[in-house]
């Protein structure tokens, strides 16, 4: 039984890179933190594992962790089977892996994965973006942490942005908003940053990828860190909730949202003051 209020480490990081060596340096720190915290760690990479194992040999404790099963270097194809990922099935795999790590006495599972090959086509991107939010929800509840690597030169800024905005943390500077999981008891999702006319299409895409489910006819967006939302994005939210026969409830300290909703007559959005 999952306790939605359980306090678990929550680390879901999007890391876009131009230089693979820079990505690996950041990945090493991510893995080192996991090993120090008693987690099982995976470094998922395309191609054979041997070169990766060789490069990571310099990471303190990694070789020893590999030996005793605390660290693994699984292949990308075996970890994410199929050309186009199936989100529910993939979450199930990581659920099993996380529970297995816990059963083996680890405090959780931490995964670094360069998933660039999995988002090259529009169909792959759609499926993987949906998976990103689905696994983000799982990470909110159970001790699974992930660092998703994306090669910017191979994917382009738009693809990177579509993926980065679905992570609570990213290193992508131009992504102004984030849509990520919150505790189910707090709402359908969390919304942070700035939403304006220049990114309202990306916001709509993020909402589609997140595929949020209303509860009791309400789609509650926890938006305590929302600094700005304009009329276009409020209209997007209104339409999105409407398709789901729900009222969008935006809990935000940004009080202008309430005035815009009234001004635009958006009956499907209710703004509640939040700190």
């Amino acid at each position: 039984m999952i306790n939605p209020r359980a306090v678990v480490p929550y680390g879901h990081v999007c890391w876009s890179y131009d230089d693979p060596a820079a990505f690996e340096r950041r990945a090493r720190r991510f893995l080192a933190d996991g090993l120090a915290a008693g987690e099982r760690v995976w470094y998922v990479a395309p191609g054979p594992p041997e070169p990766v194992v060789e490069r990571l040999a310099g990471l303190v404790g990694f070789t020893e962790a590999l030996r005793r099963g605390a660290a693994l270097v699984p292949g990308l194809d075996s970890t994410y089977p199929g050309g186009v990922i199936e989100p529910v099935e993939q979450v199930r795999r990581f659920t099993a892996a996380t529970e297995e790590a816990l059963a083996a006495g680890y405090t959780g599972l931490r995964v670094v994965a360069d998933v660039t090959p999995l988002v090259r086509t529009p169909a792959q991107l759609r499926a993987f973006a949906r998976y990103e939010h689905a696994i983000d929800r799982y990470m909110r509840l159970r001790p699974l942490a992930g660092m998703c690597g994306y090669h910017r030169a191979a994917l382009g800024d738009r693809t990177i942005a579509e993926l980065a905005c679905l992570h609570p943390v990213s290193n992508v500077p131009d992504v102004l908003f984030r849509l990520y999981a919150c505790h189910p008891g707090d709402g359908a999702a969390a919304l942070a940053g700035e939403l304006d006319t220049l990114n309202h299409e990306m916001f709509a895409t993020a909402l589609e990828h997140a595929d949020l489910s209303p509860v009791g006819g309400e789609l509650v967006m926890r938006a305590g860190d929302l600094r700005f939302i304009d009329h276009n994005c409020l209209t997007r939210l209104h339409d999105y909730a409407g398709v789901r026969d729900a009222t969008a409830v935006l809990r935000t300290p940004w009080t202008a949202a309430a005035r815009l909703v009234e001004l635009l007559g958006l009956s499907g959005v209710r703004v509640e003051a939040a700190r």
């Binding site: 006319t197 220049l198 700005f228 304009d230 009329h231 940004w254 009080t255 202008a256 815009l260 001004l263």
Partner: protein, 319 residues
Amino acid sequence: MRTGAGAGHEGYYHEAVPYRSDEELLAVVLPFLLGGVSAGEPTVVALGERTATLVRAALPAGSGVTFLPGGDLYARPAVAIRSYQRMLAGYLAEGARQIRIVGEVPPAALGVTWDWWARYESAINHAYDSFPLWSMCAYDTRITPSAVLRDVLRTHPRVVTADGRRPSETYTEPKAYLSEERSPVPDPLQRTPPLVELVDPSPTQARQAIHQVDSGLLPTDELEDLVVAVSEVVTNALRHGRPPVRFRLWVGADRVVVAVSDEGGGPTDPFAGLLPTADGGAGGLGLWITYQSCNHVALHRGQGAFTLRLTAGNPHFTD
């Protein structure tokens, strides 16, 4: 059937009442109001406190006239249009054949912010024309500057005084009137170096600039509304204007002033800002939101640039 001067007229019957004394105001307005009540027409007074008191005292007790606080209605032109349209639609839905309203803009509106009220007076000839409305706009000639009175005559098709009713000889159709260049009164703050000056800022940078100069001068709601307005105006300039987009910001003792310029011609819709663009295109909705969100918005075309000046706080500056 419509009654009184509006009988047989279709749409909006718009009259100016330039009155020279309280007695003259009452002489024109009382028959208008009592005639509306006796005809069973919704009859509304939206005057300032002093004149409303005057009219109320002159009406018989339980006259049936509805009094609205004029100060609230006339806070901002776009807000007034929206409020009135909603009220008129309500009366129409209840079966009204004609609605009578006497209103007046607050005395402060006759000063440096008159430019947007002049646009209001012209635009409502169009904005209210889908309603069987007969309205009188009262202007006290003792306190109304002559330039304002000239605009009043150009924006009202008819004039009524104690001497009678006549067409306004200088009345100008809204599309023509609103297309004229009307330079706003320069804010003295604009003669000083701006506190912030940005070229081709992103909407995010423009929003940040507002937050960075916030020193608690504006209440939170007003600050956020200015951020909304600035974001819309900069977005419009970037999308529909011509570069470079120049953003300047001044902070005075009682107000924040932002001017956003680009080298385009500005919106082509003469009703821009006062009414939302029907198809929501070309930045029309954003400019309408801007007009709802600021205490003054001035449009200006000149020296090869189109400029929107936004004021939060007290827009009624003195030199």
